[in-house]
Amino acid sequence: MQLIFETSRPGRRGVRLDPLDVPEATLPAEFCREDAPNLPEVGELDVVRHFTRLSARNFGVDSHFYPLGSCTMKYNPKLADAISALPGLAGLHPHLSSSPVYHGCIQGALEIVYETEHLLAEIAGMREVSLQPIAGAHGELTGALLIAAYHRAKGNKKDTIIIPDSAHGTNPASATIAGFKVVQAPSGADGTIRLDAFKNVMNDSVAGVMLTCPNTHGLFEPDVHKIADLAHEADALLYYDGANLNAIIGQSRPGDLGFDVMHFNLHKTFATPHGMGGPGSGPVGVGERLAPFLPGPRVTRTEVGFGLEMPPQSIGKIAAFFGNFLVAARAYAYLLCQGDEGLKNVARYAVLNANYILARLKDAYDPAYDTTCMHECVFTATRQAKAGVRAIDIAKALLDRGFHAPTIYFPLTVKESIMIEPTETESKQTLDAFCDAMRAIAQAAQDDPESLHAAPQTTPVGRLDEVRAARELDCGCL
């Protein structure tokens, strides 16, 4: 397919403006660019055709089952699209929050921030929530900065964060970027943290422990409360990576498990669209110990309405305003619709669906851990790899059968891993069709492994040469 730049014709125009209705003005040449920017010269229909055709070269949740493990690709309700387009929300200038004189103009928006923060806090058993972090990893960074601020205020000299080897890559990256050293805690043979190994790395230099629960093996950490006690005895704080909250929402709350700080992924658990990689939203929740340090300003409710206040011990500003506000508004609409019973069913059916896939596939593929899973199940394709069919071949074969691939080669702790997260919004028919395809691929891996190396054949392009991409580094047409 052509690049939009390749369809450009000199002189063609898309959108036009009204004629200038004030006198022309000039700016000294030294401040101006020499030529107009070399953007495509195309008509509106050219643009519409181009991007409509591009869209047809994508799989999305609306068109395909998308069982990408750890990403919670659930259905994104259209109601939320309508909410985020409301002119009173989409058209609202954020700087109206910068001066109290305009605060009367933003009462509805402040209410949404206030209510969403309070609902999220209640759902997670946290004392307070801030919507400021813009994505999950940004929430992790905020959490790590909160932990640092806590220890600084107490005069503690702690510089290390413990992270299990099964953690998402963002955990060690966020802790490092916040200025901490990272120490890895190994998983045991059963896929959960070994308490003795944890004790070996736990000491007075540890500022915090970052856990995902259930972990990326899809397993609940049975010793989570013991880990919390050990951490707290040493005045270390426990961080909850909310990436897998969909597994326990309405069943168990991070705050009740002993976590001091966490982030939510609104684009996972709370059904806001993933948008090809973003925008997400990563609100941070805190317990009593960290509440004074939250980023500000905080929305407060008084008799005369909503106002803003900067807490004296706040770490400052993690976002310019209130984070990805329209994403939060979508999540708020989702929360209001779901309510008490709806939210409790989210985890119940997410876990049911994952265990159903595990049950239907466990004779065709080897489960990484032979136990009931939570919201996602992890297989290893080592059996197929012996026949020359690797996890990547299975992933590509799924594309030909009309399914997005699961997450592969993550978690790093499982060889040839295939991580499947179906979510609660998929029907049994869809799960059955997916399992049938997975079983057929396992059969083909035995009967005709070569056929799988040629996949995918039904997509706009076949397997792409990534080595060539990295060597030639053609990252834009200049």
């Binding site: 397919m1 730049f5 898309g14 959108v15 200038l20 700016l27 401040f31 101006c32 660019r33 953007l39 591009l54 047809a56 994508n58 799989f59 068109s63 998308y66 929300l89 058209g91 609202l92 200038h93 954020p94 700087h95 109290p100 509805g108 949404i112 813009i134 994505a135 992790e140 640092a148 890559g169 963002t170 060690p172 990256a173 049975p222 989570v224 669209p273 948008g275 090809m276 990689g277 973003g278 997400g280 770490i315 305003f321 209130f322 984070g323 990805n324 506000f325 209001l336 008490d340 709806g342 049911l352 049950a359 939570m374 691939a405 997450t407 392009v461 792409l464 990295a470 580094l473 053609d474």
Partner: protein, 434 residues
């Protein structure tokens, strides 16, 4: 049940296949004392009710009948085709293109976006997006620290004060030496961060500073305003090493602060130090052109604690909007928007300064679409008087620590008509003279 399709019969079949009697049994690994006892979450509501509730809530916001509030975020016209195309759910409901064969739409769009950013800034490489303009300052800072192995950061007075505060928050636990005025010597500096136009709207040419930076082994980071580059000298032409921007002005609604778009472009030699995802062109076995994510060994999912950044989710959908917006405007369109913004702001500036109300201009150089004025009265009390007429006359600077109680920042876009500009002039004069 809301958005859960399983019927009672299907649930029974699935439980039987798993070999358990109830869903509760699947949660047996969570110790009983750690299970939820009660929470205060209200009962669910219908979609109809939620839509009504939120429409009423949204209506309690006042977006103003006539607004001149800017400060880094601007109300530009967004062509209808931006919404129509970007809202296609093949874009909206896809995720990061981990499987490139079924994500060529995403990857080609990212590649085209990177191309458009390079052409806009006159730099050689760009990434797929960062969170926003403020976090882009932080990412550029850590990139400069990695590149130069130095820890001194010089923040120029032109920088948005919100970005400066975000930088302080993000780097609080790092041992960096951040200084706020330009020191006589740049020796030992990792980078100098400037903004053009400045937060108060002043346009500068930082070419000389770029030379001084390079002589001292430091990088020049320029935070730019994308629409202004329809007219203004580019970061690349000034000699900038890294260019960053808040991309909101390219087809993104104001949205009370987000989602926005962090733009980053750089010299080719810095590409391996860049944070975030990067798309590259390549081909398949049959020689068909395709696009993949490249240089992933910089990223957190491979490199973990040694990654160039912790960014994972980015603002890809906002980058798509920016790309569509730039294509619809095109070469001449973006120039025309910039020319009109500038001309209209000059007209308003002239009328305000030359009027009888005693309004003074604070900028010490040319301006683009925004300028700062000193009123002969308290800015917030003047705003209060104009609010009654539905006019948001600008951003009072004192609460941001960017000016005196009397100072106001006034922004103009191509959407303002001459009549709008005259209305503000008359309303301000009336408020100040009575």
């Amino acid at each position: 049940m809301t958005w859960i399709p399983a019927t009672d019969a299907e649930r029974g079949e699935m439980l039987a296949a798993i070999g358990v009697r109830s869903i509760d049994e699947l949660f047996a690994t969570i110790p009983e004392h750690l299970r939820l006892r009660k929470w205060q979450v209200p009962p669910g509501r219908s979609q109809m009710a939620v839509q009504r509730i939120l429409a009423e809530t949204a209506a309690r916001n006042d977006t103003g009948t006539l607004s001149f509030v800017g400060g880094g975020y601007y109300d530009h016209h967004i062509p209808a085709a931006v919404d129509a195309l970007a809202s296609r759910s093949e874009f909206l409901t896809a995720y990061t293109p981990y499987q490139p064969e079924c994500a060529q739409g995403t990857l080609q769009a990212v590649y085209e976006y990177q191309s458009a950013v390079c052409r806009l800034t006159d730099l050689e490489c760009a990434n797929a997006s960062l969170y926003d303009g403020g976090t882009a300052v932080f990412e550029a800072t850590t990139m400069a620290v990695r590149q130069t192995r130095r820890t001194r950061i010089v923040c120029h007075e032109s920088l948005n004060p919100l970005y400066r505060r975000m930088l302080a928050t993000h780097t609080a636990n790092l041992e960096l030496d951040i200084v706020d005025s330009e020191p006589a010597s740049l020796d030992g500096a990792a980078c100098v961060i400037v903004q053009n136009p400045s937060f108060l709207g002043t346009v500068r040419d930082f070419s000389d500073l770029a030379e001084r930076c390079h002589a001292a082994g430091a990088l020049l980071v320029v935070s730019f305003y994308p629409v202004s580059l329809g007219l203004l000298k580019t970061p690349g032409a000034m000699g900038a090493d890294i260019a960053i921007a808040e991309g909101q002005s390219l087809g993104l609604p104001l949205s009370f602060g987000g989602p926005y778009l962090g733009i980053m472009a750089a010299r080719q030699k810095l590409i391996r130090k860049m944070p975030g995802r990067i798309a590259a062109a390549t081909q398949d076995a049959e020689g068909r052109r395709g696009f993949v994510l490249t240089l992933q060994a910089r990223e957190q999912h491979i490199r973990r604690e040694k990654a160039t950044s912790n960014i994972c989710s980015n603002e890809a959908h906002c980058a798509l909007r920016a790309l569509i917006h730039l294509c619809l405007l095109g070469r001449e369109g973006l120039r025309e928007v910039a020319v009109q913004c500038h001309a209209k702001a000059e007209y308003l500036k002239g009328r305000l300064i030359e009027g009888a109300a005693g309004i003074q201009l604070l900028n010490d150089g040319p301006t683009f679409n925004e300028f700062a004025v000193r009123l002969p009265a308290d800015a917030e009390s003047v705003v209060e008087r104009l609010l009654d007429r539905g006019i948001h006359p600008g951003l009072p600077l004192a609460p941001l620590g960017a000016g005196e109680r009397t100072d106001l920042l006034v922004a103009v876009t191509e959407k303002h008509t001459r009549e709008d500009l005259d209305t503000l002039t008359e309303a301000l004069e009336q408020a100040l003279c009575n």
